[in-house]
């Protein structure tokens, strides 16, 4: 496992450039040996720093090897590993102190460092993870990119003794920038300063931005640098802006003269204010058209726009600075005056107001006000001034816009079978404020030739550009027609903001349509259904809502994605939906096809059997499964057909050959890859409606989101490529707020996600939820299982007494091992070393993996305990899970020394970086410990003694637990595990008594009874 660090090193002199030293911690090396604490001033090599060849291979970059000395927290001469590093070293972490360590890395200049920073900061898997410093600098370099993209940099001259350098300087002075820079400053991890701790985070951040912007602009601008040069000083400077060493080739008198000119030119850079305050103009409209307008001069706090100081208060100050509620504005009078002088150049009418001694405002007429709003204000905003315009300016209704009227098609609605393919009649209208305009009315208004007109006391703008657009709109657009319900929905949800160059100001829909749209936006507008008939169980209130919601979307032929957290009951909500479809009918009009991961198919069968025995279920799997016409015949009378993803792909043709009532995908993240054959095959299955179930936060995994939405409502989110450009990349890499907002608006109607901590869920949820996790045997497991049963049962028949007892217990043990994993049974691990693959050989392990993935994906600091009675299995899990999920584990077993045991428990309870998975052997960890930090408990194999299991569960479920606890008990179907589980369930009270201690009671069974229990029931 590797952790990638990016260490930014600033330039030491103006002639140098800074860059990134990439280095990597690796746990692929032997455990570091502790020694005496190093003498403070002497640095020693970092013991688990990857060598530069490995680093080059992993990052695939060119760069020079370089060393650096970093001061890192260390104990006994060993630096503490970063918390993300998964390792199995036993290191002391008490009372660390800073000590210098020599690290080997690859040195890159900004142009080479940038792609690596961007790509690797979001890549995390079992073998690789970026450290916080890498993620931090990646975010800062994204900010540098934003600056470069927006041309927010200026060419400057930097002087160092006799030398003058040409540099590109980023200017971050937009209103939100001060707050953003402060946020970065506070976020900077201490490790960023490990080689230069006398530099403040603020200075280091500034240096990074300056260095990166300069180096990148120099490199990227080179090809477009001016070609024809004359011999003036300024041209030498411009040349140096694109040269490698940035030195301006001029005599010092020439450079000095140039620098003086440059300084004068820069005078207006901060003309609008500084980091804390800016100069702001507030335009106020008169009550009637005949009265004049007022333009007020003010000073405004950048981080608190409501903090406004009028100019006359500024004139009263004699002090050098203005302080107001902790904000400090240096030389406010001069700044205000300079700003006014600058603004007056752009807006000459302002000059008159400056004839007074202490100007505070300007009076202008309507045309002047319009010119200010339209022409001057954007320039002033560009220069950093604040503009407070009348609230109606540029708003809906205060300028020309368009409205669309939508009308539902009567007869389809009545039938209740409207769908995405149904059509809505639309009509576009030109609008001005509340008023709809006919062509004649519009022409009359246009003739007024006044850019600001008052209509019924409301000011509205009407400029030449808009008038032009309106004429075009009339001429070119299709003003009336029909559109799909999907398009109507997009319009209704604000998915479109303009039409034909004019802003959309209103979407008017008839009562039916607007009522319909509201149901998507407001939960309380949705009709709550009663619990369906035939449901054996009680729906909790939020489940009732989820089921009503799915039914509502289904009614309109729209696909729904139920993305509730694990344990909230997606299964029972889905079963309710199907029961509701069935109603009082004997069977569904066509079967619903439910596709789930192989390991969960059985779980579905059991759950349907338990909650809705009336639903006829058919499982399509196994080597002898029917295909084509035979399959169609077989499923005819069924309500639900269950199958797995792999089989859905293999038998795609059969599934495509009939029409289903529904296609339901469980763990829908299985179709996250839109190019995969499986995804494409499933997308072609024909159905009246589609449902996707997933427990992962789908809204954060955008390619997955697109693929699922594409399955549910094809075309709604646009083509994949445009989706990546408009949403996925801006959001994933840069958390673009606009894009996030728009996407949320578009997808909200189709995704319902409740998490365990939702207030409306939490009150419905019991503190402890126990579920059985049914899993199946792989072919390898089944073969081994049957062989053992056959072999041992024969011997048991021939033996008696102690010997028989021993045989029974040994058989039980072996069968349990097989259910866990074939490798555990064969003890392959110890024989063949660590290279045996555990993947795809145990249904139970696969299922555990799927559940853990959901637990870890929730990103809520969920933590899990896994109990097993076999130390060998625990060791296998401790070794396998980190590799498979990139999540660290701790393993506590009988052989763990008391000191290490205490340390593990303390770490799990107190350290926020502790491994989220804690594996415990039932004997060593089942009693006594307090592990309330866990909110999931997995019983990987069973002790068949509820008391023992409950006691283990209570490690997490006890006083001090603040969250709901989910208990997952694994049961391998068709095996002794299921048989015994059933026996215990059917006579719980009795079982308590019988099974008092251990599993000895099993040995008391008659041979026939025993055979019935252990024989494998293949499915």
């Amino acid at each position: 496992m590797n952790i990638l660090h990016a260490h930014y090193q600033p330039p030491q002199m103006p002639s140098e450039t800074g860059g990134i030293l990439f280095w990597m911690e690796t746990s692929d090396l032997p455990a570091p040996k502790s020694g005496r604490a190093a003498k403070k001033e002497k640095s020693r090599p970092h013991p688990f720093c990857a060598d530069t060849d490995t680093l080059k291979r992993v990052l695939n970059i060119e760069g020079a090897p370089k060393t650096a000395t970093l001061r890192l927290p260390a104990v006994k001469g060993i630096p503490l590993p970063s918390p993300q590093l998964i390792h199995n070293w036993n290191l002391d972490s008490k009372n660390p102190e800073l000590a210098p360590f020599l690290i080997n890395g690859i040195w890159t200049r900004p142009p080479e460092a940038l792609p690596t920073l961007l790509i690797f900061s979001s890549q995390t898997d079992a073998s690789f993870s970026p450290a916080a410093d890498t993620r931090f600098w990646s975010m800062v370099s994204a900010l540098a990119l934003e600056t470069l993209a927006a041309h927010k940099l200026i060419p400057v001259i930097v002087n160092e003794e006799k030398n003058y350098y040409a540099r590109w300087l980023p200017i971050l002075d937009a209103p939100k920038d001060a707050a953003r820079l402060k946020q970065l400053e506070d976020a900077m991890p201490a490790i960023c300063r490990a080689s230069l701790d006398n530099v403040s985070p603020k200075n280091l951040l500034t240096s990074f931005l300056d260095t990166f912007c300069d180096a990148l602009a120099r490199e990227w601008g080179k090809s477009a640098a001016p070609k024809s040069y004359d011999n003036s000083s300024a041209v030498s400077w411009i040349k140096a802006l694109f040269s490698e060493n940035a030195l301006i080739q001029l005599s010092s008198a020439q450079a000095q003269n140039l620098a003086a000119s440059h300084k004068a030119w820069m005078r207006n850079l901060h003309v609008a204010g500084d980091a804390a305050f800016r100069i702001t103009f507030r335009l106020e409209a008169p009550a009637s058209q005949k009265q004049p307008w007022q333009l007020h001069y003010l000073i405004q706090a950048k981080d608190d726009p409501s903090l406004l100081i009028p100019a006359d208060e500024v004139w009263k100050k004699t002090r050098g600075a203005l302080t107001h509620l902790g904000h400090r504005f240096e030389q406010p009078q001069e700044k205000l005056l300079a700003g006014l002088g600058y603004a007056a150049r752009l807006f000459p009418p302002m000059t008159e107001s400056l004839r007074s001694k202490r100007p505070t405002e300007l009076t202008i007429d309507t045309n002047g006000a319009y010119t200010f709003l339209r022409e001057t204000a954007p320039l002033l905003v560009g220069a950093g001034f604040g503009i407070l315009v009348p609230p109606w300016w540029n708003k809906k209704g205060a300028r020309l816009g368009v409205k669309v009227k939508m009308k539902s098609q009567g007869k389809d609605v009545v039938k209740g079978h409207m769908s995405f393919d149904n059509l809505v009649r639309y009509q576009w209208k030109l609008s001005l404020g509340e008023t709809e305009l006919t062509e004649t009315e519009f022409k009359a208004l246009a003739k007024l030739k006044s850019p600001l007109v008052q209509i019924r006391g409301q000011w509205v703008t009407l400029d030449a550009e808009q008038i032009e657009a309106a004429i075009k709109f009339w001429e070119k657009s299709q003003l009336e027609g029909e559109m799909s319900l999907l398009d109507a929905m997009k319009l209704g949800l604000g998915g479109e903001t303009s039409a034909g160059g004019l802003p959309i100001d209103g979407v008017e829909s008839d009562d039916w349509l607007s009522g319909w749209l509201k149901k998507f936006e407001q939960a309380d507008k949705l009709e709550q259904l009663q619990q369906p008939k035939g449901l054996d169980g009680q729906l909790r209130p939020y489940q009732l809502y989820g089921y009503s919601w799915m039914t509502f979307l289904r009614k309109w032929g729209m696909g729904a994605c139920l993305a509730d957290d694990m344990g909230l009951g997606k299964t029972i909500q889905t079963i309710s939906l199907l029961l509701n479809e069935k109603g009082t009918k004997k069977k569904l009009p066509a079967p619903a096809l439910l596709i789930a991961p192989t390991s969960v198919v059985t779980n579905w069968e059991r759950e349907i059997g338990r909650f809705a025995p009336g639903l006829k279920t058919y499982i399509h799997r196994g080597a002898t499964r029917l295909r084509g016409g035979e399959m169609r015949e077989a499923v005819k009378g069924q309500d639900v057909v269950l199958t797995s993803y792999p089989i859905a792909r293999l038998d795609a043709e059969s599934f495509q050959s009939m029409k289903w009532l529904a296609v339901i995908l469980d763990e829908a993240q299985n179709i996250k890859n839109p190019e995969a054959k499986q995804t494409q095959a499933i997308r072609k299955f024909e159905a009246e409606f589609r449902i996707a179930l997933t427990g992962t936060p789908v809204e954060n995994r955008l390619s997955e989101l697109w693929s699922i939405m594409h399955f549910l409502n094809p075309g709604y989110l646009g083509a994949r490529k445009s989706f990546r450009e408009n949403f996925a990349l801006p959001i994933e890499r840069y958390r673009d707020e606009e894009a996030i907002k728009q996407l949320k608006q578009l997808t909200t109607p189709f995704i319902l996600r409740r998490v365990k901590t939702d207030p409306r869920v939490i009150s419905d949820l019991p503190d402890k939820v126990e579920t059985k996790v049914y899993c199946t045997l792989t072919e390898e497991q089944a073969t081994l299982y049957e062989a053992v049963v056959q072999d041992v049962m024969k011997k048991i028949e021939e033996e008696e007494g102690i010997k028989r007892r021993g045989l029974v217990l040994s058989m039980m043990m072996q069968l349990k091992q097989i259910c866990n994993h074939p490798v555990q049974y064969i003890h392959q691990k110890s024989k063949a070393g660590a290279d045996v693959s555990l993947d795809n050989r145990s249904g139970k392990l696969e299922r555990l993996g799927e559940l853990l993935e959901e637990v870890l994906a929730a990103a809520r600091n969920d933590r899990a305990l896994i109990f097993t009675q076999f130390a060998e299995m625990g060791e296998m899990l401790a070794d396998y899970l980190p590799k498979a999920f990139g999540a660290a584990t701790q393993f506590l077993h009988g052989g763990t020394p008391a000191k290490a045991r205490d340390q593990m428990v303390r770490r799990f309870q107190e350290d926020e970086h502790a491994p989220p998975i804690f594996i415990l052997s039932l004997k060593a960890g089942g009693t006594g410990l307090n592990l309330t930090h866990a909110n999931h408990v997995f019983h990987f194999d069973r002790w068949w003694n509820p008391a023992v299991e409950n006691q283990a569960t209570d490690r997490a479920f006890r006083i001090g637990q603040k969250r709901n606890v989910q208990v997952h008990k694994f049961v391998t179907t068709g095996t002794l595990e299921e048989m015994i589980d059933d026996m215990i369930e059917s006579k719980k009270g009795l079982a308590q008594a019988i099974v008092g201690s251990g599993e000895n009671w099993l040995t008391e069974m008659s041979t026939d009874e025993l055979r019935r229990v252990v024989t494998l029931r293949r499915q």
């Binding site: 970063s82 940038l114 993209a149 004139w315 190019e675």
Partner: protein, 288 residues
């Protein structure tokens, strides 16, 4: 050009290191106030010396030009090995005269506003007239010049050359004339601030505290993590609404030759912006 030689008996030694005038032909100085400065000189010098002074300024014969306590000191490379030393001074106004000037300037905010924005107010001379003094040198006595060259005429072509270069500095910095008249920008501004506040009390300056770095030792417990989570931190990588907004804010740079700084750098800005967006949105995810 051999015949030139005969017409120019004192040919200046060429130099590469001198300050070249921004103006390549035609009139020196772009703004009226700088032109007024040039005019003050041109009244005193014959046209031959002015022509040679202009070409000296354009060829870069002025080696250095520095403001001193009471004027301007310059070095100009002439026909002798050692450059000539030049000084240009204007009579300082007395404190009383300055007092009256400040009074007049304080009457209208526009004077300060335009000066601070880098512009000499059109009617500033009237403000000076109210105080019965003149801003620009008005008479021969106002402008005191000296040169170490053998030319008996004063001002000579060397003085003229330095004067032209100074004229270009004026273009960029209207406060230069104030300094030559004996007051810095800060002094003028402070006096004006007091007038606006209507009091004579001394203006206090408050010091700002220094930015201190937190010692690394104090961050050991949280050494590897973000100090505060970067939640809600958002970046929008987009092309600019207005191209080169900062260059537009700064306006024309008089020291950059035609066609001006925006034209010189426009292609580079676009290339940088384009590349930034390309890099930001380069899709590196492997399509399966």
């Amino acid at each position: 050009m051999p015949y030139d030689y005969w017409f120019k008996p004192t040919k200046a030694i060429k130099t590469k290191d001198g300050i070249k005038a921004q103006s390549k032909r035609g009139a020196f100085a772009k703004n009226w106030w700088a032109q007024r400065w040039i005019a003050a000189l041109e009244r005193l010098v014959d046209s031959g010396r002015l022509t040679r002074g202009r070409s000296y300024a354009r060829q870069g014969q002025v080696l250095s030009i520095d403001e001193t306590k009471d004027g301007v000191a310059a070095r100009v490379q002439g026909s002798m090995q050692t450059p000539y030393k030049i000084s240009i001074k204007i009579n300082h106004l007395t404190d009383a005269e300055w007092g009256k000037v400040i009074d007049a300037l304080a009457e209208q905010a526009i004077f300060t506003a335009q000066l601070l924005a880098g512009e000499m107010p059109q009617d500033i001379e009237q403000a000076f007239e109210q105080a019965k003094v003149s801003l620009f040198p008005a008479t021969r006595r106002d402008l005191q010049t000296e040169c170490s060259c053998p030319d008996p005429a004063n001002p000579c072509k060397h003085i003229a050359a330095a004067h032209y270069i100074l004229g270009e500095r004026f273009d960029e910095d209207p406060f230069l004339i104030f300094r030559l008249r004996g007051r810095t920008q800060e002094q003028v501004m402070q006096a004006l601030r007091q007038r606006r506040a209507g009091s004579d009390e001394a203006v206090e300056e408050e010091a700002e505290e220094m930015e201190a770095a937190i010692p690394l030792e104090e961050s050991i417990s949280n050494f590897w993590d973000m100090g505060t989570p970067l939640e809600g931190f958002s970046v929008s990588i987009r092309p600019p609404a207005i191209e080169m907004p900062l260059l537009k804010r700064l306006g024309a740079a008089s020291f950059v030759p035609e066609p001006g700084i925006q034209s010189w750098l426009s292609a580079a800005y676009q290339a940088v912006g384009r590349k930034a967006i390309q890099t930001a949105f380069k899709d590196t995810s492997e399509e399966e």
